[in-house]
Protein backbone atom coordinates (compact mmCIF):
# COMPACT_ATOMS: atom_id res chain seq x y z
CA UNK A 1 0.00 0.00 0.00
CA UNK A 2 1.39 3.42 -0.88
CA UNK A 3 2.07 5.84 1.94
CA UNK A 4 -0.57 8.16 0.50
CA UNK A 5 -3.22 5.42 0.53
CA UNK A 6 -2.30 4.46 4.08
CA UNK A 7 -2.56 8.08 5.17
CA UNK A 8 -5.92 8.46 3.45
CA UNK A 9 -7.26 5.37 5.20
CA UNK A 10 -6.15 6.70 8.56
CA UNK A 11 -7.84 10.03 7.90
CA UNK A 12 -11.04 8.34 6.73
CA UNK A 13 -11.20 5.88 9.65
CA UNK A 14 -13.94 6.49 12.23
CA UNK A 15 -11.37 7.37 14.93
CA UNK A 16 -9.83 10.79 14.72
CA UNK A 17 -6.22 10.71 13.47
CA UNK A 18 -4.00 12.32 16.10
CA UNK A 19 -0.65 13.58 14.81
CA UNK A 20 2.04 15.31 16.84
CA UNK A 21 4.15 17.69 14.81
CA UNK A 22 7.59 16.31 13.96
CA UNK A 23 10.54 18.35 12.79
CA UNK A 24 13.85 16.60 13.52
CA UNK A 25 15.39 13.18 14.13
CA UNK A 26 14.53 13.22 17.81
CA UNK A 27 10.86 14.17 17.52
CA UNK A 28 10.41 11.72 14.64
CA UNK A 29 11.84 8.76 16.54
CA UNK A 30 9.99 9.61 19.76
CA UNK A 31 6.68 9.89 17.92
CA UNK A 32 7.31 6.61 16.13
CA UNK A 33 8.29 4.87 19.38
CA UNK A 34 5.16 6.16 21.10
CA UNK A 35 3.13 4.26 18.52
CA UNK A 36 1.57 7.04 16.48
CA UNK A 37 0.40 5.84 13.10
CA UNK A 38 1.13 9.03 11.19
CA UNK A 39 2.81 12.36 11.79
CA UNK A 40 2.59 15.86 10.46
CA UNK A 41 5.81 17.72 9.77
CA UNK A 42 5.56 21.19 11.26
CA UNK A 43 6.89 23.89 8.97
CA UNK A 44 7.33 26.17 11.99
CA UNK A 45 9.37 23.53 13.78
CA UNK A 46 11.52 22.85 10.72
CA UNK A 47 12.20 26.57 10.27
CA UNK A 48 12.99 27.14 13.95
CA UNK A 49 15.06 24.03 14.53
CA UNK A 50 17.04 23.71 11.32
CA UNK A 51 17.31 27.39 10.42
CA UNK A 52 16.93 29.15 13.78
CA UNK A 53 14.23 31.58 12.65
CA UNK A 54 10.51 31.85 13.42
CA UNK A 55 7.91 30.71 10.91
CA UNK A 56 7.89 33.86 8.77
CA UNK A 57 8.75 32.44 5.38
CA UNK A 58 12.52 32.69 5.87
CA UNK A 59 12.94 29.01 5.05
CA UNK A 60 12.71 28.28 1.34
CA UNK A 61 11.61 25.31 -0.72
CA UNK A 62 14.98 23.53 -0.87
CA UNK A 63 15.51 23.75 2.88
CA UNK A 64 12.04 22.40 3.56
CA UNK A 65 12.42 19.60 0.99
CA UNK A 66 15.78 18.47 2.33
CA UNK A 67 14.45 18.06 5.87
CA UNK A 68 11.19 16.45 4.70
CA UNK A 69 13.14 13.89 2.66
CA UNK A 70 15.36 13.09 5.61
CA UNK A 71 12.35 12.58 7.88
CA UNK A 72 10.57 10.39 5.32
CA UNK A 73 13.69 8.26 4.88
CA UNK A 74 13.97 7.64 8.59
CA UNK A 75 10.46 6.32 9.30
CA UNK A 76 7.75 3.95 8.11
CA UNK A 77 5.04 6.32 9.36
CA UNK A 78 3.24 8.16 6.58
CA UNK A 79 4.14 11.83 6.88
CA UNK A 80 2.34 14.95 5.88
CA UNK A 81 4.60 17.77 4.79
CA UNK A 82 3.91 21.47 5.21
CA UNK A 83 4.61 23.03 1.80
CA UNK A 84 3.69 26.55 2.92
CA UNK A 85 2.24 28.50 -0.04
CA UNK A 86 3.96 26.32 -2.62
CA UNK A 87 6.76 28.88 -3.03
CA UNK A 88 5.34 30.65 -6.04
CA UNK A 89 2.27 30.36 -8.24
CA UNK A 90 0.29 27.35 -9.50
CA UNK A 91 3.10 26.42 -11.89
CA UNK A 92 5.63 26.34 -9.06
CA UNK A 93 3.21 24.15 -7.15
CA UNK A 94 3.39 21.50 -9.89
CA UNK A 95 7.12 21.01 -9.27
CA UNK A 96 6.86 21.36 -5.51
CA UNK A 97 4.18 18.66 -5.38
CA UNK A 98 6.23 16.27 -7.53
CA UNK A 99 9.32 16.88 -5.41
CA UNK A 100 7.58 16.14 -2.13
CA UNK A 101 5.92 13.02 -3.53
CA UNK A 102 9.26 11.73 -4.80
CA UNK A 103 10.83 12.56 -1.44
CA UNK A 104 8.61 9.91 0.14
CA UNK A 105 5.89 11.96 1.77
CA UNK A 106 2.31 10.72 2.06
CA UNK A 107 0.52 14.04 1.97
CA UNK A 108 1.27 17.66 1.19
CA UNK A 109 -0.37 20.63 2.81
CA UNK A 110 -0.56 23.84 0.83
CA UNK A 111 -2.01 27.08 2.18
CA UNK A 112 -3.59 30.22 0.78
CA UNK A 113 -1.48 32.79 2.59
CA UNK A 114 0.39 35.57 0.87
CA UNK A 115 4.13 34.87 0.62
CA UNK A 116 6.15 35.37 2.79
CA UNK A 117 3.76 33.39 4.99
CA UNK A 118 3.77 33.31 8.73
CA UNK A 119 2.64 30.90 11.42
CA UNK A 120 -1.16 30.78 11.25
CA UNK A 121 -1.37 31.97 14.84
CA UNK A 122 0.59 35.17 14.43
CA UNK A 123 -0.86 38.58 13.66
CA UNK A 124 -0.60 40.14 10.21
CA UNK A 125 -1.69 37.32 7.92
CA UNK A 126 -2.92 37.98 4.41
CA UNK A 127 -4.56 35.54 2.00
CA UNK A 128 -4.47 35.31 -1.78
CA UNK A 129 -7.71 35.44 -3.81
CA UNK A 130 -9.70 32.19 -3.72
CA UNK A 131 -9.34 31.82 -7.49
CA UNK A 132 -5.56 31.79 -7.32
CA UNK A 133 -5.52 29.16 -4.59
CA UNK A 134 -7.99 27.02 -6.57
CA UNK A 135 -5.42 26.98 -9.38
CA UNK A 136 -2.70 25.91 -6.98
CA UNK A 137 -4.80 23.04 -5.65
CA UNK A 138 -5.71 21.95 -9.19
CA UNK A 139 -2.08 22.05 -10.20
CA UNK A 140 -1.04 19.93 -7.19
CA UNK A 141 -3.82 17.41 -7.77
CA UNK A 142 -2.80 17.05 -11.43
CA UNK A 143 0.92 16.87 -10.66
CA UNK A 144 0.84 13.85 -8.37
CA UNK A 145 1.90 10.53 -9.83
CA UNK A 146 0.22 8.31 -7.22
CA UNK A 147 -3.45 9.32 -7.14
CA UNK A 148 -3.45 8.52 -3.43
CA UNK A 149 -0.76 11.08 -2.62
CA UNK A 150 -2.94 13.35 -0.49
CA UNK A 151 -3.42 17.02 -1.14
CA UNK A 152 -4.38 18.84 2.04
CA UNK A 153 -5.67 22.32 1.26
CA UNK A 154 -5.37 24.82 4.05
CA UNK A 155 -7.01 28.16 4.42
CA UNK A 156 -5.86 30.90 6.74
CA UNK A 157 -8.88 32.99 5.93
CA UNK A 158 -10.64 32.71 9.32
CA UNK A 159 -8.70 35.62 10.81
CA UNK A 160 -8.98 37.68 7.62
CA UNK A 161 -12.48 37.14 6.18
CA UNK A 162 -14.26 34.99 8.75
CA UNK A 163 -15.72 31.51 8.93
CA UNK A 164 -18.10 31.80 5.97
CA UNK A 165 -15.21 32.56 3.66
CA UNK A 166 -13.33 29.60 5.17
CA UNK A 167 -16.20 27.32 4.18
CA UNK A 168 -16.51 28.86 0.74
CA UNK A 169 -12.81 28.46 0.10
CA UNK A 170 -12.56 24.89 1.37
CA UNK A 171 -15.50 23.81 -0.81
CA UNK A 172 -13.79 25.30 -3.83
CA UNK A 173 -10.51 23.59 -2.95
CA UNK A 174 -12.25 20.21 -2.70
CA UNK A 175 -13.86 20.78 -6.08
CA UNK A 176 -10.37 21.51 -7.41
CA UNK A 177 -9.07 18.16 -6.18
CA UNK A 178 -8.11 18.52 -2.50
CA UNK A 179 -8.51 15.31 -0.50
CA UNK A 180 -8.43 16.83 2.97
CA UNK A 181 -9.23 20.31 4.23
CA UNK A 182 -7.36 22.19 6.90
CA UNK A 183 -8.76 25.30 8.51
CA UNK A 184 -6.15 27.04 10.62
CA UNK A 185 -6.82 29.27 13.60
CA UNK A 186 -10.59 28.83 13.81
CA UNK A 187 -11.80 31.15 16.55
CA UNK A 188 -14.48 29.15 18.38
CA UNK A 189 -15.86 25.66 18.95
CA UNK A 190 -18.94 26.70 16.99
CA UNK A 191 -16.77 27.69 14.04
CA UNK A 192 -15.13 24.27 14.02
CA UNK A 193 -18.55 22.60 14.03
CA UNK A 194 -19.82 24.88 11.31
CA UNK A 195 -16.88 24.12 9.05
CA UNK A 196 -17.14 20.34 9.56
CA UNK A 197 -20.82 20.39 8.69
CA UNK A 198 -20.44 22.47 5.57
CA UNK A 199 -17.55 20.98 3.64
CA UNK A 200 -17.62 17.84 1.48
CA UNK A 201 -14.25 16.41 2.63
CA UNK A 202 -12.51 15.39 5.87
CA UNK A 203 -11.39 18.28 8.05
CA UNK A 204 -8.11 18.60 9.87
CA UNK A 205 -7.58 21.18 12.61
CA UNK A 206 -4.55 22.47 14.49
CA UNK A 207 -4.42 22.31 18.27
CA UNK A 208 -1.03 23.92 18.61
CA UNK A 209 0.80 23.09 21.80
CA UNK A 210 -1.83 20.66 23.01
CA UNK A 211 -1.46 21.76 26.62
CA UNK A 212 -1.93 25.45 26.32
CA UNK A 213 -4.64 27.72 25.01
CA UNK A 214 -3.64 30.36 22.51
CA UNK A 215 -5.57 33.52 21.81
CA UNK A 216 -6.32 32.34 18.29
CA UNK A 217 -7.98 28.95 18.77
CA UNK A 218 -9.73 27.30 21.71
CA UNK A 219 -8.09 24.12 23.01
CA UNK A 220 -10.36 21.14 22.26
CA UNK A 221 -9.46 17.53 23.08
CA UNK A 222 -9.26 14.87 20.37
CA UNK A 223 -12.31 13.14 21.84
CA UNK A 224 -14.34 16.33 21.66
CA UNK A 225 -13.11 16.97 18.12
CA UNK A 226 -14.03 13.46 17.06
CA UNK A 227 -17.53 13.92 18.45
CA UNK A 228 -17.77 17.07 16.33
CA UNK A 229 -16.83 15.13 13.19
CA UNK A 230 -13.24 16.32 12.76
CA UNK A 231 -11.15 13.68 10.94
CA UNK A 232 -7.65 14.68 11.99
CA UNK A 233 -5.94 16.89 14.51
CA UNK A 234 -2.33 18.03 14.49
CA UNK A 235 -0.31 19.31 17.44
CA UNK A 236 2.49 21.06 15.57
CA UNK A 237 3.86 22.94 18.59
CA UNK A 238 3.70 20.12 21.14
CA UNK A 239 7.19 18.72 20.76
CA UNK A 240 9.07 21.89 19.89
CA UNK A 241 7.81 23.61 23.03
CA UNK A 242 8.40 20.47 25.12
CA UNK A 243 11.97 20.14 23.81
CA UNK A 244 12.72 23.77 24.64
CA UNK A 245 11.18 23.32 28.09
CA UNK A 246 13.37 20.26 28.60
CA UNK A 247 16.47 22.23 27.61
CA UNK A 248 15.49 25.14 29.85
CA UNK A 249 15.00 22.87 32.86
CA UNK A 250 18.38 21.33 32.19
CA UNK A 251 20.08 24.72 31.93
CA UNK A 252 18.81 25.55 35.42
CA UNK A 253 20.39 22.42 36.87
CA UNK A 254 23.50 23.08 34.80
CA UNK A 255 23.78 26.54 36.32
CA UNK A 256 23.69 25.06 39.81
CA UNK A 257 26.37 22.59 38.79
CA UNK A 258 28.60 25.35 37.40
CA UNK A 259 28.32 27.23 40.66
CA UNK A 260 30.14 24.36 42.27
CA UNK A 261 27.47 22.00 43.49
CA UNK A 262 28.18 18.32 43.02
CA UNK A 263 25.97 17.17 40.18
CA UNK A 264 23.15 14.91 41.21
CA UNK A 265 21.71 12.46 38.75
CA UNK A 266 18.45 13.94 37.56
CA UNK A 267 16.86 11.36 35.33
CA UNK A 268 13.85 13.62 35.02
CA UNK A 269 16.02 16.19 33.23
CA UNK A 270 17.92 14.12 30.68
CA UNK A 271 17.73 10.76 29.01
CA UNK A 272 20.86 8.66 29.41
CA UNK A 273 23.58 8.19 26.81
CA UNK A 274 22.28 4.67 26.27
CA UNK A 275 18.67 5.79 25.85
CA UNK A 276 19.52 8.41 23.25
CA UNK A 277 21.59 5.81 21.38
CA UNK A 278 18.70 3.39 21.34
CA UNK A 279 16.30 6.10 20.28
CA UNK A 280 18.55 6.84 17.30
CA UNK A 281 18.72 3.13 16.39
CA UNK A 282 22.31 2.55 17.32
CA UNK A 283 21.64 -1.21 17.55
CA UNK A 284 20.88 -1.20 13.81
CA UNK A 285 24.29 0.37 13.14
CA UNK A 286 25.92 -2.23 15.36
CA UNK A 287 24.20 -4.97 13.37
CA UNK A 288 25.46 -3.51 10.10
CA UNK A 289 28.97 -3.25 11.55
CA UNK A 290 28.79 -6.84 12.71
CA UNK A 291 27.67 -7.99 9.30
CA UNK A 292 29.83 -5.96 6.93
CA UNK A 293 32.57 -3.97 8.68
CA UNK A 294 34.40 -6.86 10.28
CA UNK A 295 37.65 -4.93 10.72
CA UNK A 296 36.00 -2.16 12.69
CA UNK A 297 35.56 -4.30 15.77
CA UNK A 298 39.18 -4.59 16.83
CA UNK A 299 39.77 -1.77 19.31
CA UNK A 300 38.77 -1.72 22.99
Amino acid sequence: MSKGKLFKELVNAPEILVSPGVYDGFSLKITEQAGFKAAAITGAGVSECHFGWPDHGIMGFEGNLRIARMLAERTEMPLRVDADTGYGNAVTVHFVCRAFEKAGLAAMMIEDQVWPKRCGHMAGKGVIPTEEMVQKVQSAADARIDQDFCIMARTDSAAVYGVNDVIDRLCRFVEAGADICYADALMTVDDVKKVVENIPAPLCVNMGLGFQTRGTTPLITPKQLQAMGVAMVTFPRLLTTAAVKGMQNCMEAFKTMIEGEEPEAREDLQVSFKEIGELMELPMLDDLDEKYAVNAKTAE
Binding site: G52, W53, F211, M251, F254, Q270, L282
Partner: protein, 302 residues
Protein backbone atom coordinates in the same frame (compact mmCIF):
# COMPACT_ATOMS: atom_id res chain seq x y z
CA UNK B 1 30.45 49.24 20.78
CA UNK B 2 31.01 46.63 18.13
CA UNK B 3 33.90 44.29 18.80
CA UNK B 4 36.34 44.64 15.93
CA UNK B 5 38.33 41.56 16.87
CA UNK B 6 37.78 38.46 14.76
CA UNK B 7 35.68 35.63 16.12
CA UNK B 8 38.77 33.46 16.43
CA UNK B 9 40.58 36.18 18.39
CA UNK B 10 37.65 36.66 20.74
CA UNK B 11 37.42 32.95 21.41
CA UNK B 12 41.18 32.77 21.95
CA UNK B 13 40.90 35.55 24.54
CA UNK B 14 38.29 33.50 26.41
CA UNK B 15 40.41 30.34 26.26
CA UNK B 16 43.50 32.19 27.46
CA UNK B 17 41.65 33.90 30.34
CA UNK B 18 42.32 32.52 33.83
CA UNK B 19 38.74 31.30 34.18
CA UNK B 20 37.80 28.07 32.48
CA UNK B 21 35.66 28.57 29.35
CA UNK B 22 32.34 26.70 29.40
CA UNK B 23 30.78 25.79 26.06
CA UNK B 24 27.46 23.95 26.12
CA UNK B 25 26.96 21.74 23.11
CA UNK B 26 24.50 23.10 20.59
CA UNK B 27 22.97 21.45 17.55
CA UNK B 28 19.98 23.42 16.25
CA UNK B 29 18.28 26.81 16.30
CA UNK B 30 16.63 26.23 19.66
CA UNK B 31 19.74 25.12 21.52
CA UNK B 32 21.89 27.87 19.97
CA UNK B 33 19.44 30.59 20.87
CA UNK B 34 18.81 29.22 24.35
CA UNK B 35 22.52 29.03 25.17
CA UNK B 36 23.05 32.55 23.89
CA UNK B 37 20.09 33.86 25.88
CA UNK B 38 21.60 32.38 29.03
CA UNK B 39 24.67 34.54 28.63
CA UNK B 40 27.18 31.99 27.36
CA UNK B 41 29.75 33.46 25.01
CA UNK B 42 30.57 30.32 23.09
CA UNK B 43 28.87 27.14 21.94
CA UNK B 44 30.39 23.87 20.83
CA UNK B 45 28.48 22.53 17.85
CA UNK B 46 28.05 18.85 18.60
CA UNK B 47 28.65 16.60 15.62
CA UNK B 48 26.66 13.91 17.39
CA UNK B 49 23.79 16.34 17.94
CA UNK B 50 23.82 17.50 14.31
CA UNK B 51 23.76 13.94 13.04
CA UNK B 52 20.95 12.90 15.37
CA UNK B 53 18.83 16.02 14.96
CA UNK B 54 19.26 16.90 11.29
CA UNK B 55 19.84 13.41 9.86
CA UNK B 56 18.08 11.20 12.36
CA UNK B 57 21.23 9.08 12.59
CA UNK B 58 23.58 8.29 15.46
CA UNK B 59 27.14 9.66 15.51
CA UNK B 60 28.75 6.95 13.43
CA UNK B 61 30.16 8.85 10.50
CA UNK B 62 26.93 8.90 8.49
CA UNK B 63 26.86 12.68 8.23
CA UNK B 64 29.00 14.02 5.42
CA UNK B 65 30.98 17.23 5.07
CA UNK B 66 28.33 19.21 3.22
CA UNK B 67 25.58 18.38 5.70
CA UNK B 68 27.80 19.28 8.63
CA UNK B 69 28.81 22.54 6.97
CA UNK B 70 25.32 23.65 6.01
CA UNK B 71 24.01 23.02 9.52
CA UNK B 72 26.94 24.89 11.06
CA UNK B 73 26.38 27.79 8.71
CA UNK B 74 22.70 27.94 9.64
CA UNK B 75 23.61 28.12 13.34
CA UNK B 76 26.15 30.88 12.67
CA UNK B 77 23.50 32.76 10.71
CA UNK B 78 21.08 32.93 13.64
CA UNK B 79 23.49 33.38 16.54
CA UNK B 80 26.25 35.62 17.85
CA UNK B 81 27.86 32.81 19.83
CA UNK B 82 31.52 32.08 19.16
CA UNK B 83 31.19 28.66 17.58
CA UNK B 84 33.35 25.56 17.58
CA UNK B 85 32.66 23.29 14.60
CA UNK B 86 33.22 19.57 14.87
CA UNK B 87 34.80 18.58 11.54
CA UNK B 88 35.15 14.91 12.48
CA UNK B 89 38.21 13.47 10.74
CA UNK B 90 38.25 16.17 8.06
CA UNK B 91 36.49 13.90 5.56
CA UNK B 92 39.56 12.55 3.84
CA UNK B 93 43.26 13.19 4.02
CA UNK B 94 45.26 16.35 4.78
CA UNK B 95 44.31 17.84 1.42
CA UNK B 96 40.62 17.51 2.24
CA UNK B 97 41.35 19.09 5.61
CA UNK B 98 42.78 22.14 3.86
CA UNK B 99 39.49 22.85 2.09
CA UNK B 100 37.33 21.80 5.03
CA UNK B 101 39.14 24.32 7.27
CA UNK B 102 38.56 27.16 4.83
CA UNK B 103 34.90 26.23 4.42
CA UNK B 104 34.22 26.23 8.16
CA UNK B 105 36.07 29.51 8.65
CA UNK B 106 34.03 31.12 5.87
CA UNK B 107 30.84 29.70 7.37
CA UNK B 108 31.36 31.91 10.42
CA UNK B 109 32.98 29.56 12.92
CA UNK B 110 35.57 30.67 15.50
CA UNK B 111 37.20 27.26 15.81
CA UNK B 112 37.24 23.95 14.00
CA UNK B 113 38.08 20.59 15.53
CA UNK B 114 39.75 17.67 13.77
CA UNK B 115 40.18 14.25 15.34
CA UNK B 116 42.55 11.38 14.68
CA UNK B 117 39.99 8.59 14.38
CA UNK B 118 39.76 6.37 11.33
CA UNK B 119 36.77 7.05 9.08
CA UNK B 120 33.91 6.30 9.56
CA UNK B 121 34.38 7.82 13.01
CA UNK B 122 32.14 7.22 15.95
CA UNK B 123 31.21 9.16 19.09
CA UNK B 124 34.32 9.20 21.30
CA UNK B 125 32.43 7.42 24.05
CA UNK B 126 31.36 4.41 22.03
CA UNK B 127 33.30 1.16 21.85
CA UNK B 128 35.20 0.14 18.75
CA UNK B 129 37.23 3.28 18.09
CA UNK B 130 40.50 3.19 16.17
CA UNK B 131 42.97 5.94 15.28
CA UNK B 132 45.12 6.82 12.28
CA UNK B 133 48.92 7.13 12.50
CA UNK B 134 50.05 10.18 14.48
CA UNK B 135 52.17 11.34 11.50
CA UNK B 136 49.15 11.39 9.24
CA UNK B 137 47.23 13.49 11.76
CA UNK B 138 50.18 15.87 12.06
CA UNK B 139 49.88 16.49 8.32
CA UNK B 140 46.17 17.19 8.72
CA UNK B 141 46.93 19.78 11.40
CA UNK B 142 49.65 21.33 9.22
CA UNK B 143 47.21 21.64 6.36
CA UNK B 144 44.52 23.17 8.59
CA UNK B 145 46.95 25.76 9.99
CA UNK B 146 48.18 26.70 6.52
CA UNK B 147 44.64 26.92 5.16
CA UNK B 148 43.12 29.38 7.62
CA UNK B 149 42.86 33.01 6.51
CA UNK B 150 42.56 34.59 9.94
CA UNK B 151 45.68 33.66 11.92
CA UNK B 152 43.48 33.62 15.05
CA UNK B 153 40.98 31.11 13.65
CA UNK B 154 41.38 28.26 16.13
CA UNK B 155 42.49 24.80 15.11
CA UNK B 156 41.45 22.33 17.76
CA UNK B 157 43.23 18.98 17.59
CA UNK B 158 41.50 16.03 19.17
CA UNK B 159 42.91 12.64 19.89
CA UNK B 160 40.82 9.56 20.50
CA UNK B 161 43.89 7.47 21.31
CA UNK B 162 43.38 7.24 25.09
CA UNK B 163 41.15 4.19 24.74
CA UNK B 164 42.93 2.22 22.02
CA UNK B 165 46.59 3.19 22.75
CA UNK B 166 46.79 4.56 26.29
CA UNK B 167 47.45 7.81 28.10
CA UNK B 168 51.12 8.27 27.20
CA UNK B 169 50.32 7.97 23.53
CA UNK B 170 47.48 10.51 23.90
CA UNK B 171 49.87 13.03 25.49
CA UNK B 172 52.56 12.36 22.91
CA UNK B 173 50.09 12.88 20.10
CA UNK B 174 48.67 16.11 21.52
CA UNK B 175 52.17 17.58 21.74
CA UNK B 176 52.90 16.55 18.16
CA UNK B 177 49.67 18.27 17.08
CA UNK B 178 50.60 21.36 19.12
CA UNK B 179 53.94 21.51 17.39
CA UNK B 180 52.20 21.24 14.03
CA UNK B 181 50.28 24.40 14.90
CA UNK B 182 47.15 23.38 16.80
CA UNK B 183 45.91 26.12 19.14
CA UNK B 184 43.75 24.03 21.41
CA UNK B 185 44.15 20.38 22.38
CA UNK B 186 41.41 17.94 23.18
CA UNK B 187 41.74 14.42 24.53
CA UNK B 188 38.40 12.68 24.34
CA UNK B 189 37.16 9.98 26.69
CA UNK B 190 39.80 10.34 29.40
CA UNK B 191 39.09 7.70 32.01
CA UNK B 192 39.69 9.45 35.34
CA UNK B 193 40.38 12.75 37.07
CA UNK B 194 43.98 11.66 37.31
CA UNK B 195 44.08 11.19 33.53
CA UNK B 196 42.83 14.73 33.05
CA UNK B 197 45.39 16.21 35.50
CA UNK B 198 48.20 14.28 33.86
CA UNK B 199 47.29 15.44 30.38
CA UNK B 200 46.79 19.05 31.50
CA UNK B 201 50.21 19.05 33.18
CA UNK B 202 52.01 17.55 30.20
CA UNK B 203 50.75 19.29 27.09
CA UNK B 204 52.20 22.43 25.54
CA UNK B 205 48.98 24.21 24.57
CA UNK B 206 45.64 24.88 26.30
CA UNK B 207 43.60 21.75 26.97
CA UNK B 208 39.87 21.33 26.53
CA UNK B 209 37.86 18.38 27.81
CA UNK B 210 34.44 16.90 27.14
CA UNK B 211 32.01 16.53 30.03
CA UNK B 212 29.27 14.89 28.01
CA UNK B 213 25.85 15.28 29.55
CA UNK B 214 27.10 17.80 32.11
CA UNK B 215 24.72 16.89 34.87
CA UNK B 216 24.85 13.15 34.48
CA UNK B 217 27.84 10.77 34.52
CA UNK B 218 28.71 8.25 31.82
CA UNK B 219 30.89 5.23 32.22
CA UNK B 220 33.71 6.48 30.00
CA UNK B 221 34.65 9.77 31.70
CA UNK B 222 33.95 10.93 35.27
CA UNK B 223 31.88 14.05 35.71
CA UNK B 224 34.15 16.77 37.09
CA UNK B 225 32.72 20.21 37.96
CA UNK B 226 34.25 23.13 36.05
CA UNK B 227 35.85 24.72 39.12
CA UNK B 228 37.77 21.56 39.77
CA UNK B 229 38.79 21.29 36.12
CA UNK B 230 40.04 24.86 36.29
CA UNK B 231 42.19 23.98 39.32
CA UNK B 232 43.56 21.06 37.36
CA UNK B 233 44.75 23.43 34.64
CA UNK B 234 42.06 22.74 32.04
CA UNK B 235 41.40 25.81 29.84
CA UNK B 236 38.00 24.93 28.40
CA UNK B 237 35.23 22.39 28.78
CA UNK B 238 32.40 21.45 26.47
CA UNK B 239 29.12 19.67 27.22
CA UNK B 240 28.12 18.21 23.86
CA UNK B 241 25.32 15.98 25.19
CA UNK B 242 23.81 18.44 27.67
CA UNK B 243 21.00 19.72 25.51
CA UNK B 244 20.22 16.86 23.14
CA UNK B 245 19.49 14.57 26.09
CA UNK B 246 17.39 17.20 27.83
CA UNK B 247 15.46 18.10 24.67
CA UNK B 248 14.61 14.43 24.24
CA UNK B 249 13.64 14.19 27.92
CA UNK B 250 11.37 17.20 27.47
CA UNK B 251 9.70 15.63 24.43
CA UNK B 252 9.21 12.29 26.18
CA UNK B 253 7.70 14.05 29.21
CA UNK B 254 5.44 15.95 26.83
CA UNK B 255 4.29 12.84 24.97
CA UNK B 256 3.69 10.92 28.21
CA UNK B 257 1.28 13.59 29.36
CA UNK B 258 -0.13 13.90 25.85
CA UNK B 259 -1.30 10.33 26.10
CA UNK B 260 -3.53 11.33 29.02
CA UNK B 261 -4.78 14.32 27.10
CA UNK B 262 -5.74 12.21 24.08
CA UNK B 263 -7.95 10.12 26.36
CA UNK B 264 -9.33 13.08 28.30
CA UNK B 265 -12.71 14.69 27.96
CA UNK B 266 -11.53 18.17 28.89
CA UNK B 267 -8.38 20.05 27.86
CA UNK B 268 -5.42 19.81 30.24
CA UNK B 269 -3.20 22.82 30.87
CA UNK B 270 0.42 21.84 31.58
CA UNK B 271 2.63 24.93 31.54
CA UNK B 272 5.31 22.87 33.30
CA UNK B 273 5.78 20.75 30.17
CA UNK B 274 5.92 23.29 27.37
CA UNK B 275 7.27 26.80 26.98
CA UNK B 276 4.50 29.12 25.97
CA UNK B 277 4.11 30.43 22.46
CA UNK B 278 5.24 33.98 23.33
CA UNK B 279 8.31 32.77 25.17
CA UNK B 280 9.24 30.55 22.23
CA UNK B 281 8.86 33.39 19.75
CA UNK B 282 10.85 35.77 21.95
CA UNK B 283 13.65 33.26 22.17
CA UNK B 284 13.64 32.93 18.38
CA UNK B 285 13.92 36.70 18.01
CA UNK B 286 10.61 37.27 16.26
CA UNK B 287 11.03 40.90 17.37
CA UNK B 288 13.86 41.32 14.89
CA UNK B 289 11.64 40.07 12.06
CA UNK B 290 8.87 42.43 13.16
CA UNK B 291 11.31 45.34 13.06
CA UNK B 292 12.45 44.41 9.56
CA UNK B 293 8.83 44.24 8.44
CA UNK B 294 8.05 47.58 10.00
CA UNK B 295 11.02 49.11 8.25
CA UNK B 296 10.88 47.55 4.78
CA UNK B 297 7.69 45.60 4.15
CA UNK B 298 5.33 48.54 4.35
CA UNK B 299 3.16 47.24 1.53
CA UNK B 300 2.44 44.08 3.51
CA UNK B 301 -0.92 43.32 5.04
CA UNK B 302 -0.69 44.34 8.70
Amino acid sequence: MADTKSKGRRLKDLIEAPEILLSPGIFDGYSARLVESRGFKSGAISGAGLSECHLGMPDRGLMGFEENLSNCRAIADCSDLLLHADADTGYGNAVNVYFVTQAFEKAGMAAVMFEDQTWPKRCGHMVGKSVIEAEEMVEKIHAACDAKKDPDFIIKARTDSRGPLGLDEAIKRLNMYAEAGADLLFADALLSEEDISTVAANVDKPLTVNMGLGIRARSTTPLVPPKKLEEMGVAAVSYPRLLTTSAVRGMINGLDAFDEMVKANEPIDRPDLCVNFEELNDMLDVKFLDELEEKYAIGGDK
